[in-house]
Amino acid sequence: MTTLEAVRRRAESDARTYGYVLNPDSKFLVDLIEGLKTNEDRYGYPSCPCRLASGVFELDRDIICPCDYRDPDVQEYGYCFCGLFIRKDIIEENKPIESIPERRPQEKIALAHVPASQRVEKPAEVVPALTAIPLKTKLKMWYCKQCGYVVFREEPPFICPICKAKKEMFEEIRATIYLGA
């Protein structure tokens, strides 16, 4: 079991790394930290408190905090889906914070609503749907021209987690990679 303090420290450290701040509304922040702790105790990983997790790590990977949608959401709206991470200018301008639209694909969310028993009993139906997601996405390799950080994902990060360089500083590494045997 993790502690609320550990969850908070991790969020603070992550916010610092990416140049964000945590929600200044202390009651709201406590709700989020408690939600993350509950999910970590429940599933073994801190999935987003404002989303329905399936409890299957592979299916929930994209919503483990900080989720895959955080940086594009912070870029577009100024804060992430659950309102934990906020851009500094939003705080400085004292802009009101409301729910933002869900960026996570609906088909991924729908999978969290599929009974676990169905996933086990009907692998023929469920497995293709699950494996279709990673196959559809074309993962590329990117490197930060400023610090050399290398990342393997669909799009380059919005901000380099190491040196804070912007997205534009990332360039694709074109190489043939053989996955698996």
Binding site: P101, E102, H113
Partner: protein
Amino acid sequence: MKIVKVNGKKRSHKIFMYAISTCAWCKRTKQFLKDNNVEFEYVDVDLCDDEDKEKVEKEITRRGGRLSYPTLIVDDKTLITGYKEDRISEALEL
């Protein structure tokens, strides 16, 4: 499905809310309704069993909603996704 009823003096609209127990926006929406003394019912979807989760998914999508929480259904017709104080106030004539 474990539906929780919150009593309130304002009962002119039927309000049903799909929520997540850990979600801060859902908590804020519940509090907003309580503060306005509005009677409503809700279900925490993450605490539902598998069968009920599937029912919730079908129900939200059948109504043309997006799978996102909180989702409020006002008078069986107006669907509000997310914590949007203005839209909730308008729909409930607060």
